[in-house]
């Protein structure tokens, strides 16, 4: 959890905004540090978290979370964290060597027309179960790392959007919880040859849907050792102030955190 980002976003673990749909995205940079921030943030806030790890193994997330002061193993034993090890299961599912219920959950890996229905049902079940038993003072949270991997595995943009839409309806609206997703853009240029199945198309659709967007980009001037990129934060306007807000920061990632500063005010520059 980065304290600086909390003050920028005007939240703290004691005061969690409900019904947020947070979209993290990156292009020519790596936004996964933000994902680790939100994972540790919601765990510290005492929320019930369901984490779908499509990219890395559990031990990776655990090692990073430990540096941020959260123990994932304990959280999982307590039942606060439900971790879906999608990467670990994938090889066995693809080679048709897993038990039927695991194969059922990850059926997008094998089906010729992949859908995410089983995954959604699992996520929904695990989070609403918490709602029934727990004190329900803190909202449930779904975190997905990352959606664009699904596109590489042959899931269509449409199926991914169906999944996020269902999640938003079920978790944000019904359970008063939050959803955090990461989308990584892998296309070379941003505008030309607009492809139907590109991740920028997915990103555009999700930007329309989200309430808070943090998009990470590499520096336009190229590689720099002291500034790792810039992050553009966008809030959707709600209620009386319809106007949405937009702020741009530059950032640098350290071993145990990250610092955010206004463009051009890096300690290396000044």
């Amino acid at each position: 959890m980065f304290a600086e980002l909390n003050s920028i976003l005007n939240t703290s673990p004691d005061d969690v905004t409900q019904r947020e749909f947070i979209l993290l995205s990156d292009r020519k940079a790596d936004a996964s540090f933000l994902l680790h921030h939100f994972l540790s943030f919601y765990l510290k806030a005492g929320c019930k978290v369901c984490f779908v790890g499509l990219v890395q193994s559990f031990s990776h997330y655990n090692a990073v979370a430990q540096r941020l002061g959260v123990n994932l193993v304990q959280a999982r034993e307590k039942g606060q964290l439900v971790f879906v090890e999608a990467l670990k299961a994938s090889a066995a599912v693809m080679l048709n060597e897993s038990s039927s219920d695991v194969a059922q959950l990850f059926d997008y890996l094998r089906s010729p027309v992949p859908e995410l229905r089983a995954l959604f049902e699992f996520v929904c079940a695990s989070l609403s179960q918490a709602e029934a038993e727990a004190d329900s003072s803190s909202p449930p949270v779904l975190i997905v790392d990352d959606l664009s991997v699904l596109l590489s595995l042959g899931v269509s943009v449409r199926a991914v959007l169906d999944f996020t839409h269902y999640c938003q309806a079920a978790i944000c609206s019904r359970l008063q919880g939050s959803v955090v997703t990461l989308v990584r853009c892998d296309d070379e240029d941003d505008d030309d040859e607009d492809d139907d199945e590109s991740s920028s198309r997915l990103l555009r659709a999700l930007t329309h849907q989200c309430t808070l967007s943090l998009s990470v980009k590499g520096l336009q001037t190229g590689y720099c050792r002291d500034i790792h990129g810039q992050v553009e934060i966008w809030w959707r306007g709600t209620g009386e102030n319809v106007q949405s807000q937009r702020k741009i920061f530059q950032y640098k990632v350290y071993d145990k955190g990250a610092s955010f500063f206004a463009p051009g005010t890096s300690s290396a520059v000044l």
Binding site: F33, A63, K88, M94, L109, S152, L153, V253
Partner: protein
Amino acid sequence: MAAPMESATKGIRLSGSATSFQKKSRSKLIQIPGTKPSVHTGQLIISTGVPSLDCALGGGLAVGSLLLIEEDESDSYSRALLQYFLAEGVMSGHELFVASAQDHPDDIVKDLPSPLQDEDPEFKTVSSSNLDQQDAMKIAWRYQNLPKVQTVLSSSSRFGHYYDLSKHMEQDLLQNAKIHTFYLHEEQTAPTHLSGVLGPYSVLLQSIQLLIKQNGFDGSNSQVKTCNVLRLALHSLGSALWGDNVCVSPAHNHAMLTFLYALRALLRSSLSVAMVTVPTHLIRNKLIRGRMIRLCDTAIALQSFSDAERNNNPLYKDYHGLLHVIQVPRLNCLGCEVPDTKDLAFRLKRKQFTIERMYLPPDLSDSVSRVSKVQRTPVCTSDGNKHLDF
């Protein structure tokens, strides 16, 4: 990745809780020849066989990770890197798995470079050039005390071996090594129920999985108590000979991506490292290249100066190509090891392959254009032709 990482962090925590200035008790750590814990993350890493490439990638390759090499146009330098990777495996006593559809894996293994007996030729040349400098021409006194710019990337502690490309490795070294080969055209045809998702790669994935399971690299087989690293080298994945249509088909999602994802999953749960070379310049749909890089941990691209335009450029005359480090992994930590510069170039000397920082050589030719021209600026003084001389 789980096993080596946990043991390594445990070792570090042990040493941290003890009082300082005590000898590290390393008894709890798994000792595998040819590996060392990374300075930055405590991750178990191995050498790629090219020490300067290790430096460019932040120390070496983490066990459990996947390295993607984008081939140069003729696949000559990327092939050399693959052979270095295998040769280092032979020298460290690791198990090897070589898969190819083009050349027979035995041929690739036969041509492995021979290790140099007197190690570290770069160090030797540096020290000898220092001796030469004593009676060399004196340059301006201002620059005398500046340190010599070291262009060759190297770390202080030696890790990995140096190899002589002009000689082949001796037969007895190769015979002692455990080498598993996979030649596509000798394998039986794919089982039909899998070919839908994994396409031509299902047999390859199956044999890798079988090897990892049987030889206990994932720690599941309790009878085989091997503590060794498996190096997987997959040559020219995606080329037409693999039976892959990625080069011609404009489709978005592809069996190769699914295979890389499954391979990543296998590597993460075992003591193995994979190096995959892919001719990305042949792939038709450009989206696939970006997705491939995202699915791998480390990605580098080789760009050779085979075309005449670059070859004639005086800036590049010392090098044979450019090396782009596209992606460095972030494993078990938030940040990654950030290099000073990304301007890297490689050169293939007679015996060895090195990666260096690119720099502009001093221009010593006669046609140097820095002649200080007398500026005939309009001056308000009476005599315009007179130079101001101090």
